[in-house]
């Protein structure tokens, strides 16, 4: 066998939402997307292929699945932040007419309000709720702690038995202490913090489970149908091949929907006990309490630059809480290279639910901390914040994006000196930037099938989170075969369709698109072989475009798509594709500019405009990329002004586990947003779903500073904090 050529590449991998940069060895097989100018679909504005299903209500989400004889599952959750369970008596629930299954063996100790204690399945949701109220649980309440500030005290109750505080190992490079002592530097010190934020997926977590003998079919609202399959199989002790997971449409995940999770295993067990299919969708309160959140982080930072504005030193001590989980670490210093660095991060356990990856995990927090410190230092240096970034950011793509963004927002209108805007309502401008990997990985096995009647199908067990996966899967095949996108049926969201990884870390596009392209190329090659023989032409001369196959050069003979496919045997063409590293790349760049209006009498901040620029290498669907930018900006604005999980230290309960007191922006809060896709001619596909959420909050915070000359050190920027900063309360 000939030795296959290989090469080493850097890429991002994501396991359960945790993203890491790795270097891997990959086969080096020549392949290219070609010139985007010659493309009919790719890079254009392609309305999503399932759009009509979603706007008519035809699209079936997990929540919408109804099966004959289906029961409704409900989970009884702990009202205590920490307790031992002495006993559970579910006999009265069991006897309630309509109750078909009860589970009480979930745990003996609960560590947060909302942790699973017991579960039932019944003929209706109402009866299931009634049944939960009949379950008698004897709890022995234990000491608890819900805020990291209290949890880090030596006398604080222990969450897991051991120390609440972990981590804290210094990470160091260069000579930090002497850099700070240099006589030609300006030093700034401050503390910045970002609170914990909930995902608030509109479709809650949940599943419908149906057993067929020893085989399980599960509809799941998930970012990873195969990870749900594997977790269910493992927890239930059955082979993975006995589990089929389906997710045709899902109503938002943002990092919180990997794996089957406890509600998945409970749902499957209830269905097994009851001998009937069970639907278990979490209610809103459960969703807010028990399905994860992005950790809050507080950082005390010290930053220095030389008088002419070159960053020279960074030191930070930060802490955060992932509740009963961990993972509050953040990348500091962020984006701008600093030669002398010392950082320490402490992870603090608390009796709140476990955190989960939340769109660009750790990055928006790091961005707010770093970019606030950057502007505060620029202010001390008497330097324009944009100039300070241009000087310290070596990335050529962002350099170009900064200039474009400055022009679009009208950067010249900024207050030269922060706070010097006239009037009661003050305007200000701010900037911040984004970085992400966006590379993909091997594993996806799509199948492209062409039937003799001309129908084309592409199948892959990936999922569409609303990001547009299904649409570019269809578009890639249509592009390759010279067809209209409506002629290609893209089947995704089913583990029967062939493996693909979970959707996280913005790795989906760079993982899926190359594999689909390779499958489509292979299908085309097979079809062209048949057609070239028929036309007596050289295969290299056959061109597929506009639903025709034409032999170029000599005779210009052509066949319609239907005629060409009719030449195929009954078996048609069915080929698989594998990921090809040469079709994807890693390392995307973005930046955002914000314009705000601050009412110095009410303290209210109104965001007037956001200019958001993002690159993702070769663009597959411009419309969908823009939508991701709008989405990131909207969530970033929510983080800047509204979002915050609040806990009561006395009871350990979350105070805003709903959608009215957990504040999200609505239509009247939205600024004008200019979403700009920066065309970076890498010729390679990269993911970009996450980076547009990173810089928004920081850019808004910096714009507020520019408007009023006062820094709001903690998010969200509420009227009360603004008035306090202005010395008005």
């Amino acid at each position: 066998m000939p030795q296959q050529k290989t090469k080493r590449i850097k890429t991002t991998i994501t396991v359960n939402g945790e993203t890491r940069e790795v270097e891997i060895e990959v086969p080096d097989i020549e392949a290219a997307w070609g010139d985007p100018r010659n493309m009919r679909w790719l890079g254009k504005r392609i309305p999503r292929v399932e759009g009509a299903d979603k706007v008519t209500g035809r699209a079936k989400y997990t929540y919408d699945i109804q099966l004959p004889g289906m029961l409704y599952g409900k989970i009884l959750r702990s009202p205590y932040p920490h307790a031992r369970i002495r006993s559970i008596d579910a006999s009265r629930a069991q006897r309630l007419p309509g109750v078909k299954a009860v589970i009480t063996d979930l745990t003996r100790e609960v560590k947060y309000v909302g942790e699973e204690v017991a579960a039932v399945a019944a003929v209706s949701e109402q009866v299931a709720r009634d049944a939960l109220k009949l379950i008698r649980v004897e709890y022995e309440p234990l000491p608890f702690v819900v805020t990291p500030e209290t949890a880090r005290e030596p006398s604080a109750p222990r969450v897991h038995g051991g120390q609440n505080v972990s981590g804290g190992n210094p990470r160091e490079r260069g000579d930090v202490d002497s850099a700070f002592r240099r006589s030609d530097v300006v030093v700034h010190e401050a503390t910045y913090s970002v609170p914990a934020r909930s995902h608030c997926c509109l479709e809650p977590h949940g599943l419908v489970c149906q057993w067929q003998g020893d085989k399980l079919v599960a509809w799941a609202s998930t970012q990873g149908i195969f990870s749900v399959r594997d977790e269910l199989a493992g927890a239930l002790g059955i082979p993975a091949s006995n589990v089929r997971v389906i997710c045709e449409h899902m109503g938002g995940g943002f990092g919180s929907k990997f794996g089957a999770r406890s509600e998945g295993v409970i749902c499957a067990r209830l269905a097994k006990h009851a001998g009937a299919p069970v639907k278990l969708m979490l209610e809103r309160e459960e969703e807010q309490l028990a399905t994860g959140y992005g950790p809050g982080v507080t950082a005390k930072v010290k930053i220095a630059a030389t008088r002419d504005g070159q960053l020279i030193a960074w030191e930070s001590e930060s802490y955060g809480s992932g509740g009963v989980g961990g993972g509050s670490g953040i990348p500091l210093p962020y984006i701008y290279p600093v030669p002398n660095v010392r950082t320490r991060h402490y992870d603090i356990a608390t009796n709140t639910g476990a955190s989960a990856a939340l769109r660009a995990p750790g990055h928006p927090q790091a961005s707010f901390i770093m970019e606030s410190a950057m502007d505060d230092l620029a202010h001390k240096l008497g330097m324009d914040p944009l100039e300070f970034r241009l000087k310290n950011d070596p990335n050529p793509v962002r350099q170009a994006e900064y200039r474009l963004g400055a022009e679009r927002i009208g950067w010249h209108r900024r207050n030269r000196v922060a706070g010097q805007a006239p009037g009661v309502v003050k305007r200000g401008l701010g900037v911040a930037s984004a970085i992400w990997g966006g590379g993909g990985g091997a594993g996806s096995r799509p199948t492209v099938r062409i039937d003799p009647d001309g129908s084309v199908e592409v199948r892959l067990g990936t999922q569409d989170l609303g990001t547009g996966t299904r649409t570019y899967v269809a578009a890639i095949v249509a592009e390759e075969l010279g067809l209209d996108i409506r002629q290609v049926k893209a089947l995704i969201g089913d583990t029967d369709y062939g493996y693909s990884g979970a959707s996280g870390g913005s790795t989906t596009t760079a993982s899926v698109a190359p594999a689909v392209k390779m499958a489509a190329m292979a299908a085309k090659e097979r079809l062209v072989a048949v057609v070239s023989q028929h036309l007596q032409a050289n295969p290299a001369d056959i061109v597929l475009a506009d639903g025709k196959l034409t032999a170029r050069g000599g005779s210009e003979k052509s066949l319609t798509w239907q005629q060409a496919c009719a030449l195929l045997g009954k078996e048609g063409i069915e080929v698989q594709g594998e990921w090809n590293a040469n079709l994807q790349g890693s390392g995307v760049a973005g930046c955002q500019f914000a314009e705000v209006e601050v009412d110095t009498e009410t303290g209210k901040v109104r965001v007037v405009k956001i200019v958001a620029i993002q690159d993702c290498g070769l663009v597959l669907n411009r419309l969908a990329v823009e939508s991701q930018i709008y989405g990131g900006v909207t969530q970033g604005l929510a983080m800047a002004l509204y979002e915050q999980r609040l806990f009561d230290e006395q009871t350990g309960r979350m105070l805003n586990a709903n959608l009215e007191e957990y504040k999200l922006p609505g239509s009247l809060d939205m600024p004008d947003v200019e979403a700009i896709v920066y065309d970076n001619p890498t010729g390679k596909v990269s993911g970009m779903g996450e980076p547009p959420v990173i810089p928004t909050a920081a850019a808004i915070g910096n714009a507020v500073f520019n408007a009023i000359g006062k820094r709001i050190h903690s998010l969200p920027i509420t009227p009360a904090k603004v008035l306090q900063a202005l010395g008005k309360v």
Partner: protein
């Protein structure tokens, strides 16, 4: 049983439930007190009644108490359906679980997100906050009624063309809010569009595109589309 409850911390799920029902009752001023299949529900009922006694001096006049299941006739998308429902069933659940009209979404189930928006006699309402029994005799329109076969309503068409949806879970709610606006105000301003969907939440962040789509739909409708 009362001692049992004393052991629970404040704001138990029962209380939340009871206050929500109290809220529903105050809204609809129906006495459709839930029907009560079980002792657990009776317990809840007693709690709710106590809360009612505390907050309402005089019960609404003409109140009737409904028990078990009752026949409920709903006029949905131009067709009449008679269902046997517990009186505590919301219009949202009746549509989704009893009529299979799952285009209307359940997100918060307590009047704070708009995903469940339907039109009642042309007015947008949160169907999670209306009892099915109270929707009788009214014209109910859901998102399923807008398209004529494959022909989308201009608002739907514009949503697709302008990508005013991502995950799509909030989408039917927004579309119904906008349909209600355009039925009454065929030439709305951008501000009226924003106000019309101020009661709808989109977590994916499609607002700007929704405004764009709504205004495009206005254009296409005024061209006689």
């Amino acid at each position: 049983m009362d001692e049992e409850r004393e052991k629970l911390p404040q704001h138990t799920p029962e209380e939340v439930d009871a206050s929500r029902r109290q809220f529903l009752r105050n809204l609809g001023v129906t006495a459709a007190m839930a029907s009560l299949l079980s002792s657990g529900a009776i317990l809840e009922e007693r709690r709710a009644k106590r809360a009612q006694a505390e907050t309402l001096q005089t019960p609404p006049s003409g109140a009737t108490e409904l028990r078990g299941t009752v026949a409920v006739t709903l006029q949905v998308n131009g067709r009449e359906h008679t269902l046997q429902l517990e009186p505590r069933v919301t219009l949202l659940d009746a549509l989704r679980d009893h009529l299979g009209l799952t285009g209307t979404k359940r997100v918060c189930d307590r009047g704070s997100c708009g995903a469940c928006t339907v039109l009642l006699d042309g007015k947008p309402v949160y169907s999670c906050s209306v009892l099915a029994v109270d929707a009788q005799g009214k014209k109910i329109e859901t998102v399923e009624s807008l398209a004529q076969g494959e022909q989308l309503h201009p608002v739907q068409q514009a949503f697709v063309e302008h990508d005013a949806l991502m995950c799509g879970f909030c989408t039917p709610g927004f579309i119904m809010s906008l349909k209600a606006l355009l039925d009454k105000t065929p030439q709305p301003t951008a501000q009226q569009v924003k106000e019309a969907c101020a009661g709808n939440i989109c977590r994916c962040g499609t607002y700007n595109r929704i405004f764009e789509a709504a205004l495009a739909a206005v254009q296409s409708m005024s061209r006689g589309g």
